[in-house]
Amino acid sequence: MNTGIPLYYFLILATIMFFVGVYGFLTRRNLITILMSVELILNSVNINFLAFNRYLFPHKLEGLFFSLFVIAVAASEAAVAIAIIINIYRRFTTINVEDVNVMKF
């Protein structure tokens, strides 16, 4: 157990990072910056898992492996997302998220 740093600090840190990421997701115009916000969210979740693992269940490994898989998934998702963004750029010549609204009423 890490002395001096209660669990709550990690959790609050992760929460703040999560909501900053959400704010970025809701506010940003560029598709790539939205992707960056998503990475922020995923990272905050990772911190959460690892903190729980270290503080509450030090004899198990689940938090670790979960974070590992989250990283793997995040990587593949970022790759596919970039591919889509490039395709959108080719079609619409813009990566403004407001201009990609063809699927509407």
Partner: protein, 179 residues
């Protein structure tokens, strides 16, 4: 204050400040660099928590892979020094409100909760343990998620290639129509 606490404060300050900068920066390349800093500090946090393997993976994949990928795509799709127009403030106010209320709700819930730690002894985590569990088929084995993730990575690779390439399908169509 112990050095642990000091480091924690340093890392968390970096994370918070730079993540806010990431989502509010006007220049896109700077946002990418701020993201890089956030990710590196997160890796530092992992080191503090004694998860060295994961910190290494974080540095390799995230900081070294994804951020580079993002920068490449920035280069491909827009001017580096493209400045964003200022946001409509209605959108940011409403989002801020939603986000802040969510944050408050979460924090209050967290603080309310009593986390009880288990009394079992901590296990020593080293590479051998991680490697064995990753491939073991016993109770604590993670071979199934491992295989699934490998298939996912394969699929993601293929998808990225197919989505992002251009031109080839048209040639195939013209050839079949002649027959």
């Amino acid at each position: 204050m112990t050095s642990n606490q000091l480091m924690f404060i340093l890392f968390s300050a970096v994370i918070i400040v730079f993540s806010i900068l990431t989502v509010t920066s006007q220049k896109i390349l700077r946002a990418a660099v701020y993201l890089l800093f956030v990710l590196v500090s997160t890796a530092g946090l992992y080191f503090m928590l004694n998860y060295q393997f994961l910190a290494a993976v974080q540095l390799t994949l995230y900081a070294g892979g994804i951020v580079v990928l993002i920068i490449f795509s920035i280069l491909l799709t827009s001017h580096i020094d493209l400045k964003f127009e200022s946001l409509g403030w209605k959108k940011s106010i409403f989002s801020a409100l939603a986000v802040i209320s969510g944050a408050i709700l979460s924090i209050v819930t967290i603080l309310d909760h009593k986390f009880s730690a288990t009394t079992e002894a901590a296990k020593e985590i080293d590479m051998r343990l991680i490697g064995n569990s990753l491939l073991s088929v016993e109770k604590d084995g993670y071979v199934l998620p491992f295989e699934v993730i490998s298939i996912l990575l394969l699929a993601a690779m293929i998808a990225a290639i197919v989505i992002a390439k251009k031109g080839a399908p048209k040639k195939v169509e013209s050839r079949t129509s002649k027959q």
